[in-house]
Symmetry: C2
Subunit: 253 residues, 2 copies
DNA sequence: AAGTGGTCTAGACCACCGG
DNA sequence: CGGTGGTCTAGACCACTTC
């Protein structure tokens, strides 16, 4: 009878824990500082380690923490704003972008890519690998698929160094007049190879950016870029993007 | 001695499970179909339920599964492409966008928002709430912050219906000449209220889209939109975006 | 070798949805 | 009410980094 329904929707422990930790991060810790280890923290809050980890996992997802096996949990710096699109369309590899060329191979792309490029399923295309760094930290890994028909006059395909081959392909691509590009962003999880390049564990959350380059009325190149979701804020448009602190507590009105 | 180092990097069980399940989803299940429950699945694969859940969690993150408490786990349809940006800048509420106005209040925004709008920390602004639906499913929830100085001639603020008040504010906003906008996308987790509106549990992964509207040389409106990361693929640019299947297995070259 | 986070187990109870 | 997914526990062992 008259039992008031206070706490009729009890907050899960890990959710409350996350809030408490988040506030502690704001007030008592500074960027780069190492937190107590998980066993100690769990004991201190009187919960099982798995429950504590659930809270830490969310904070890492929100970019507030960084966990490294064998090392510890540290307070993460604010997310880096990364420009992925400008109003003017530009080819990849144009001077001024901060991508680093890795290599270039000639191989059959995944079926889904072949379909977009309208090449045959087993037809080999140029695959340029690039990566993007900031402050010594890897931000993104990219695979750029370029059908051979997009760079018909390519001559120096037998260049010795892998990087030189990649550069040659991109230079050829620039001769086409870019008519447009479209882009999409979605959440994914890192494949084993991407994870390695991004210095994360397989399955880590990533932002998948797909860019289609259009020239001569067809798709002449397709880029699949994998950005670290924990450290990146992708920015589009005129200037460098907005600096908003999205911490859930702070977003509360 | 001669033990070959095969499996020197043994794959975690949940990772392997995820792969197996993913292939099963492709070949043996169709969209909307209900999977066996977690206890049965775990038993069938000979793992603990927690391990199975780790695999399911990732598949849900990738948009392949949908789990609902009290109901079951179903095979999710492919992600919906959602246009969040066109080349031409437009005001929110322009005829043709598919947002639904909810209401409009006058209140002090979070400090981070006030800083971007360059209003005082305690100065109230108009807060328009909108939501976006597709096929009866909620896609996104938005809070649109508009300083009073952006809509100085607003008269009918005392309109009776909440929706009418929201519409009045947006109509006033359209009188300004939009000079530009910039946008950023990052990963976040749903606050309790957003989660409710998006029909998800608190903490569910979301894509946070921040848009700043610039007119008369200053920020005249700021939009914070929360998109369901499991069901949405955000598209930018000329056309509807690229349809690429990002399933990790299929992305393998 | 010691200490960290990552994986895994076998249970238990709870909140929610449907008939 | 029974069945579902969501939360939580108290352990164990492993992979990795650092000293």
């Amino acid at each position: 009878m008259g039992t008031t329904q206070l706490e009729s929707v009890p907050e899960p422990k890990y959710w409350h824990l996350k809030t408490v930790l988040s506030e502690a991060l704001d007030s008592e810790f500074s960027v780069g500082e190492i937190l107590p280890n998980e066993r100690d923290l769990a004991a201190r809050f009187g919960v099982a380690r798995a429950t504590l980890r659930q809270a830490l996992e969310q904070l890492e997802l929100e970019g507030r923490l960084q966990r490294r096996r064998g090392v510890g949990t540290t307070v993460a710096p604010p997310r880096v704003g990364v420009a992925v699109g400008t109003e003017q369309h530009v080819w990849p590899g144009t001077p001024g972008d901060d991508w680093q060329l890795a290599d270039c191979t000639l191989a059959a792309p995944p079926a889904a890519v072949a379909d977009v490029l309208e090449t045959g399923r087993d037809e080999p295309v140029h695959i340029v690998r690039r990566s993007r760094m900031t402050h010594g930290q890897p931000l993104a890994a990219e695979l750029l698929y370029i059908p051979r028909s997009s760079v018909p006059d390519l001559s120096a395909i037998d260049a010795p160094a892998p990087v030189a081959r990649a550069r040659a392909v991109l230079r050829e691509l620039e001769r086409l007049e870019l008519e447009g590009q479209d882009r999409s962003v979605e959440l994914g999880s890192a494949r084993a190879d991407d994870a390695k390049e991004l210095d994360r564990l397989p399955g880590a959350p990533v932002l998948l950016v797909t860019t289609r380059f259009v020239a001569e009325g067809r798709t002449v190149a397709l880029s699949l870029a994998t950005y670290r979701a924990d450290t990146c804020r992708l920015t589009f448009g005129d200037s460098g993007g907005v600096e908003i602190d999205h911490t859930p507590e702070r977003r509360a009105s």
